[in-house]
Every structure is written in structure tokens, then in C-alpha cells.
Symmetry: C2
Subunit: 546 residues, 2 copies
């Protein structure tokens, strides 16, 4: 509609005096353009985005869900929203489980020579009882059928559970921006494949860590050590297998790849190397609820529904959760500040959501969806983060709630610190023209691409599963995948001011237009029972056991 009006407007100027209807459309168009100019000025020239990111990263640091640092982040972000004058600022609780934090840790090679190693406790594993010292055994265990080979051999040992492997040979630049052809490559609709055997495999893997923990405990192992999956002294410490449910029995440590492989080589022949581990970590059971922080710019038409932007506030623990995802949070908060500062009052309400529990299983956004938008089948208790994730992602039936109709658009931002280059239409072919129209003013900021690709792995996913209009932006990757995602190097340094200001500005502009648009994005079909894409596929028995 608006695009038609604009085309008419151009034609009309040259030909005839405007009718009142056309004049109103022209005024609306003019207002939209002026508002976008003000958003760009406020976002680029009066930005607070880097100050927000600085506070979240440098001052608060890593924000594991339900940790003391995450509590501080919840308070601080809600306070900022209130200070800027946003409405309905609130913390929506959902049941999560134990908090966890690292107080200090230290891993040392004692023999054959003394050496401090680069290491991090694995999230949600218990502390060591003081400093423990034990010989290692290299016992690569990937699946349950590997247990038999190591039975009776692990008592009193620190068990090195990863294959050492050999060093990586990275042949791509660590820091990248998307080229035109990269962007064009995203504009392709790749059919989703539903593979029941693969889902079964995912679920088996998702419960494996707990089984391994029980096996190692029963065998009398002292602790377990895994290898970092990145070289170059980067460590992560994610604990996907332990996010919820029973607390594991054994301390778990991630060693830098170089350190892991060194110890593994020293273990070949001769006396086993001896390690000393201090893992001074602490569970926090003061509040088992996690909280999504919500704030709003109210719309002028209470019946018009709302649009929403979201980013997850929680992080893993290895560094300060900067690119993942203080960057996204800063963009969302800064978009709120821009819109509020400019006194913009669109037709629809604009809601801002800072999610918790994203790193476990998108638990915060799942809780939001279940509360407001759609029902999922009930989940069994006592599952790991990975189990919840894979169960929820493949769950059926999913039933939309009445509130689903209120959500006109959701924009998620969680792809690192790079500028916005466009938006994924998430297979919603009908949404492309309107998304193009809304992005058009930001083409000269580099954000012009609408690509049909569907994305996963972050907080728009459960909306997408329910057929609701959840979208994720295309962002320049920078060094996110190469060295930042979840690592001990994910600090403020790896944010880029120009990128972050641009992202907040584009987000604010998209929110304003989606909230004020006369047109709504088209709905996707309601979810139906999944059907195997390839019903005649025969599994390789080897894979079937993974």
C-alpha cells in the first residue's frame, strides 16, 4: 500500500493537484522520511550504544543466567529503561534452576615439568575440594559404547575425554565483512529437511554428558578434562549438557587445545603426567527463576498490537559476553533510547526484550512464547539445556494462543558485533516487499539486503516454529566465528563503534516503520505434524549409534 502510494505520489506531482486522500498519503510519507532522518541523526551522532556495551562488558562482565553478574545486569538494564522513560518496564520470571559462577581456577602441570596451563571450569560442574592432584589418563569417550573400553581403568585419574587431534590450519581471514556475492548467496530458499534419525541422534547426544558424568563418577575418576575446540589458547567453558536438572558429580575442565595436546603427548609412554586442578566455582540457589527484562514504547492504537526487538542478555562465562551478546543488547537498548528520546509514538506498541537463558536452550524466549504466543507440549523435568533445546525445536503439536495475533513483527539481533547488512526473510516470501521497503532508507548505511534464507539457533526460533513473524538481521561477521564466539577473548575490544551505532540506528528505523506501517507482514502457515523429507533413507548403523 505505502509503496503504491509513493509511486502515485511521484506521478501526481507532475500531473495534477493532489486529492485529499493522496495528500494525506504524501504527508504520511513525508513524516516517515523525516522521522527516519531524525533516527539516523540520533543514532549516529548522539549514540550511547558503546557506553551501554562498556557497562555490560567491562563493568559487569560475563553474565551466566542466574549468576550474580546476570542479576546485576538485570537490575542495570531495567534501571536504564526506566531512566529513559520507557513504559511497563518489568522482569518476567521463568523457572530456570541453579546459578553458577567461577570465583577462581587454576590448572597446573606438576610432572614431568611444572607449567601453568590455560584452562576454564566447565559451566555447571561442581568445584574441586580444594586443589586436587592426580595422574591423567587419555581416554577419548564420545558415546556410550565407548564406556566399556575404559571400565576399571579410571579410578583416581583425571580423565582426558577428548581426542587430542592435531593443530588447526585456518586458511580464512579472521576478520571479515560480507561481500556482495556473500549477500547474494543468502537469498536462496533452502527447503528444510526433517530427518527423524538425525533428531534421535541429537537427543542421544544431548543426554550424553550426564551419562558420561555418571560413568566417570562410578569409575572413581577425580575430574574430567576436555580440549578446547579452537586453537590459539582460546577457551570457552560452555556446559550445554548441564544447564538444568541434576547437578553433575565431577568437576569438569576445558584446557586450551595446545595445553591439552601437550599433556596428551606427554602421556604417551612412560609415567602419566600429573595435573593439579583448583576449580573454585560456586552454585547460587538464591533464586531459581530467571528473568526476561521487558520495556515498551506504547503505541497510539491499543488494538493495533505490537512489534518487538530482542537480544539475549545472558552469556557464557569465559570473558565478558561482548559480541555474544552485549552488542545485541546495546543495539536493542539504544534503539529504545533513540525512539524514546525522539518522542516517537507509532501506531503499534514497540516492545523491547532482553532474554535470559538463551545460551542453554533459548529458554527465555521460549518462556515468552509459551506465556504469550503459543503452547508447546509439556517437557519432562530434569533435562539438560541441549535436551530442552532439541525437544522444543522438534516438538509437535504447537498451538497458537490468542495473543499471537498481536505480534506484528519480531526482530532478533544476535550475530555478533558487525553492522547490519540486511535481514533474513526466514522463508516468508510474502514478507519480502515490505521488508525491502522498510530497509530502503538504510541502503546507504550498507543495510539494503533482504535475503530469503531461514536462520536458527537464537531467540526468534520458537516464534518461527509457531509460524509467527520472527526475523533475524544479516550482520557482518567480523571475527565472531574465528575467535570470539563464547571464548575468553569476547571482550569490548571486539565491538566496533561504527558498526554498533549503525546496527542500533537500523533497528530503531525498522521498529518504527513496522510499528507505524499500514500494512502487516503476511502470516506463515500454522505448524503441522512434521513428515520425514526422505522416508526411504536407510541409516548407516555406525551413525545410528552416535
Amino acid at each position: 500500500m505505502r509503496r503504491i502510494a509513493r509511486a502515485l505520489l511521484i506521478a501526481s506531482c507532475a500531473l495534477m493537484p493532489m486529492t485529499p486522500v493522496l495528500a494525506a498519503a504524501a504527508r504520511a510519507q513525508e513524516n516517515r522520511a523525516e522521522t527516519i532522518n531524525r533516527i539516523i541523526d540520533q543514532g549516529l551522532n548522539h549514540s550511547e550504544a558503546m557506553l551501554i556495551a562498556h557497562h555490560l562488558t567491562d563493568r559487569i562482565g560475563g553474565r551466566m543466567t542466574n549468576s550474580p553478574a546476570m542479576r546485576a545486569a538485570e537490575r542495570w538494564t531495567a534501571d536504564r529503561f526506566r531512566a529513559w522513560g520507557l513504559a511497563n518496564v518489568r522482569a518476567e520470571p521463568f523457572r530456570f534452576g541453579r546459578g553458577w559462577e567461577i570465583l577462581s581456577s587454576r590448572v597446573t602441570l606438576v610432572s614431568p615439568r611444572p607449567l601453568a596451563l590455560t584452562a576454564i571450569p566447565v559451566a555447571w560442574t561442581p568445584p574441586t575440594p580444594g586443589t586436587v592432584r592426580a595422574p591423567v589418563i587419555v581416554a577419548p569417550i564420545k558415546r556410550e559404547r565407548d564406556f566399556a573400553a575404559w571400565k576399571g581403568r579410571l579410578a583416581g585419574r583425571i580423565v582426558m575425554i577428548s581426542l587430542p587431534g592435531t593443530g588447526d590450519e585456518p586458511n580464512e581471514a579472521p576478520f571479515r565483512r560480507l561481500s556482495d556475492s556473500d549477500l547474494a548467496g543468502l537469498d536462496r530458499l533452502e527447503p528444510h529437511r526433517h530427518d527423524p534419525a538425525e533428531i534421535a541422534r541429537q537427543l542421544r547426544r544431548a543426554s550424553f554428558d550426564a551419562k558420561l558424568d555418571a560413568f566417570l563418577k562410578a569409575e572413581g575418576a577425580v575430574a574430567w578434562v576436555r580440549r578446547s575446540y579452537r586453537d590459539g589458547k582460546l577457551v570457552h567453558g560452555e556446559g550445554y549438557g548441564f544447564a538444568r536438572g541434576a547437578t553433575p558429580s565431577l568437576p569438569g575442565i576445558e584446557l586450551a587445545a595446545e595445553d591439552y595436546r601437550r599433556v596428551a603427548r606427554l602421556a604417551q609412554g612412560g609415567e602419566p603426567p600429573v595435573l593439579e586442578i583448583l576449580s573454585d566455582v560456586r552454585f547460587d540457589d538464591s533464586d531459581e527463576n530467571a528473568y526476561n527484562i521487558i520495556a515498551e514504547v506504547p503505541g497510539t492504537d491499543p488494538a493495533a498490537g505490537y512489534v518487538m526487538a530482542g537480544a539475549h542478555l545472558d552469556s557464557w562465562v569465559a570473558a565478558d559476553g561482548a559480541a555474544d551478546n552485549a552488542a545485541g543488547v546495546a543495539a536493542v537498548m539504544e534503539a529504545a533510547r533513540i525512539l524514546k528520546t525522539l518522542g516517537i509514538r507509532p501506531k503499534r506498541t514497540i516492545r523491547f526484550a532482553l532474554w535470559a537463558g538463551e545460551e542453554q536452550a533459548l529458554l527465555g524466549s521460549l518462556a515468552y512464547v509459551n506465556r504469550h504466543l503459543a503452547s508447546w507440549p509439556p517437557m519432562p523435568e530434569g533435562m539438560s539445556g541441549d535436551e530442552v533445546y532439541y525437544r522444543a525445536i522438534h516438538a509437535w503439536p504447537i498451538t497458537r494462543k490468542p495473543g499471537a495475533a498481536d505480534l506484528a513483527a519480531y526482530f532478533n539481533i544476535d550475530n555478533g558485533a558487525g553492522r547490519i547488512r540486511g535481514i533474513h526473510a526466514e522463508h516468508n516470501v510474502g514478507a519480502v516487499p515490505l521488508l525491502r521497503d522498510w530497509l530502503a532508507p538504510f541502503a546507504s548505511l550498507g543495510a539494503g539486503q533482504v535475503a530469503i534464507a531461514r536462520t536458527g539457533g537464537t531467540d526468534h526460533v520458537f516464534m518461527q516454529r509457531a509460524g509467527l513473524p520472527g526475523f533475524q538481521f544479516i550482520q557482518d561477521p567480523l571475527d565472531y566465528d574465528s575467535r570470539i564466539h563464547h571464548t575468553n577473548a569476547d571482550t569490548f575490544d571486539h565491538l566496533k563503534g561504527d558498526d554498533l551505532r549503525q546496527a542500533a540506528t537500523v533497528l530503531a528505523g525498522m521498529l518504527f516503520q513496522a510499528a507505524d506501517s499500514a500494512e502487516r507482514l503476511p502470516a506463515m502457515p500454522a505448524p503441522t505434524e512434521p513428515v520425514a523429507t526422505d522416508p526411504f533413507k536407510v541409516e548407516d548403523p555406525d551413525n545410528a549409534q552416535d
Copy 2:
């Protein structure tokens, strides 16, 4: 000569029965080819190169000159040479100074929030008296004229002496092999530029660390902290300014770039952050001599002189000195093993040299040159490693000793862990045909390139300065410059077996041919007094103060 003989041989086969002289040349040629085939078989299929490298890195670790680990490396390498049956195995001493090693270290941010930082003590700085705790001050100091701005402000502080800068944006692949065009680009003779103002600047910079240490001490600072020059949590700990002479007064720490910048940001506005530093390092004065380890395969003609291969055994301290330079040492030792195992007895003696003190100022190879090959002007006492280096590199007059005539060729290997792709002819244009001839058998191993470029910075340099035939190989860079050179990630992982075996094999083949060749490499002119390349250049006064 040999190349002519070969050309004649090809012609002769078709035309006439051989004369006795031609038959002898053909037999020599045939013997050379058979010997090279045996070297390739021994080097590629019966290699011990990775076992040697494993012992030096994993078992012995970083080998700072005159540290206990370096002493262990000196003993072990000499023992290996003896076990293989090499002749004249000896340790040639030269005066070096204090040894130094890290026992343990820990740097923690205490306030505004507790956080373990990635850090390393700077080599040859003294220990902290236990754990010291003090507020920081960000006081970037690059040259003497910066002192005035900070006078009276540093007492009781941990002084952050580096500019924080912003994060890097690495847009080249970390792991690289040389392309054909990379190789072709090396084959260009770039005239050396003699710039007296630049030399004066280098010498001023080389003595700056000691002046800074004295200034900080006089101001009552507690310790100083510098930023790592690589991002991604890599640290180095080199102490170029302190290698010799007076021991510095203040403990010095290198912080990972991400950690340094975080603290620097926290220092902007409000209370200064407080750090705790434990630097438990130890000087070792048990023997002020360093030692070059020398071993030989004796030649059949005592009057024919010798050829030599060398690599430095010492390293910095952040990791295990694998690519820099256990790789080179393993190649040299393995070449010795190959030649000895095969019972090869060339005309000239083949000498193997493992240098000490390379990381300070090429001190080991300089000592060798001064003892056997050429006289340098006497050096003043009490200079830093950098001062010795720049003085020695620009010294004049240099006088060849009678022993200089005995050195037919020196091959240095110190460019990381990558395979040999060819050799730098080091501006010796006349040497190119013979080097090409010797490399020809290894073209199918990827080592065919002879490039005229001159290289610096390692142990062939002082031979080169004396006009003697010192050459360095061209090697694939792998990840040497991107993340390995002197960092805490320089471990065995970043060596590559196929590359190291190839390098040792090519080196053995080059040594054999150089030792058995009827021809000698042409001499370069004896050094003469340097003349400014650009006598009319006017210095920018800003640069003149650097």
C-alpha cells in the same frame, strides 16, 4: 663444472664411447644422485625429526638462554649428537650474563570487580616481593620526552605504559603457504639503504627500556605493565631491553591486549582499578657463560674447509619455543642424523651449530663469528640485547680472520615450522647457479626456488655482514607471524610433520652437495665503510626525537 659435465654427459651418450675423464664425472654424478635418493628415503621414511622436536618442546619447554631449561637442552642435544656418532661434539662458551626463569605468576583485577587476567612477566625483570597490590595509572610513555608529563604522578602506582589502542582486524588467513607469485616476488635485488639517522634512532630506542625503568623507579612506581602487541589473548614476554647489563629495578608484566584495554577503559573516570601482581621469577647466576653446541661429520679432505648448518636452540619463555626454533633445531639435528646414519663422507667437513642467545642479539652466532671468522670492533659493557644487536649490525670496521676462508657455506634455518620452498641467495648473484643446481633434486618436494633477496634478523646475519656465504632458506610461513612467533601458543601443535621431515631432508641434501662440490660459492666483497644512501635527506624533527 658439474653442470657442464652433466651437459656433456647427455651429449656424449648418444655420440661416442666415454673418455676416462668423462666417465669419472658421470660416476660422480651418479653417486651424487644415488646419495640424494638415500637422503630422501632416510629423511622422509625413517625420520626422527618430530621426536627431536617433541623432546625439546613438550619435555624441556621454553629455553631462555642460561635458564635451567636451556641447560637441559644443551645437555640433551649434545648427548644426541654423541649418540649418533658425530665427531668433535662440544659446547663453545661465550659470556652472556644472568639466566632467568618464571616459576609462577598471576595477575588479577581486584576492583572494580575480581577477574583473573592473562599475563606474563617480562623477561629479565625482577620478581615482585610476594603479591603486590596497587591502583593503576594509564601513562603511555614511548620516549624520554614523555617522562615530564608523568613526573610526580606515578608513586605507589602500577604504571600502564602502553597506548591501549583499539582491537585489530586481521584480514589475512592465519595459516598460509607461499604461492608461486609469492615466491617469484622474493627474487628481486632490493638495494640496502644506509640511513645514519635511522641507526641513531634504533640505538636510542634500544637503550630506552633501561631509562624508563630508572625513571619509574625514581618516581616510586610499584611495577609496570605493557600491552601485548597481538590480540586474541596471546602474550609474549620478550625482554629485549634487559637481556644484558644491569638488572632492572621494577617488575614488568605484559597483559593480553583484551585485558590491558579493559583495565584502561575502567581507569577512565572514577576510582582507578586495582591490580594484584605475583611475579615469582628467578635469576640464575650459576654460570654466566652461554654455549653454542657444535658437532661434525668430518670431511675426507682436511684442507677443504667446511660447510655448516645452524639453528638457534634458545627461545623466549611464553610457550615451548616450537616454531621458534625447535623446528630449526630439529631440522639441523635430523640432517646430522641422516648424514651420519647413511655413512656419508663428503670432501669437506659438515659442521652443525645450535646457537644460544639468538633472541637477545644473535649473540651465539656473533660469538662464533668473532671466534672463528671475523673481528668486530669491541663493544662497551652493560648494554641491552637490542643495543648489542644494533651496534653489531652497523659496526665497522669488520676484519676477516684466516678461518673465514674455511667456511664454504652456512645454511641457517629459523623461519618457523614450514617446509623449505627454496633458498635466499642473499644478494650473492654469483651463487645462484650453484644453489639452483644443489636444490634441483628437491624441486618435486616443493623446494626449487632460488631468490636473490637478502634476509636478516637471525644467525646468518653476522656472516653476511663479513661478506661470508651465509644463506637462509625460504619456508612456508604457516601461522608463524599470525599467532606463533614468541607467543604462548608456540607449541609442538603448530609444527607439521610433513613439513619438518621435508625441511630436514632438503637441508641434509644441500649440506651434502655443498660439502662435496668441486666448485665453491663465490665470495662477496669484504665489508667497507658504510656510506649514507641518501646524503641530502633532512630529518623530520618529530622523528628525530623518537
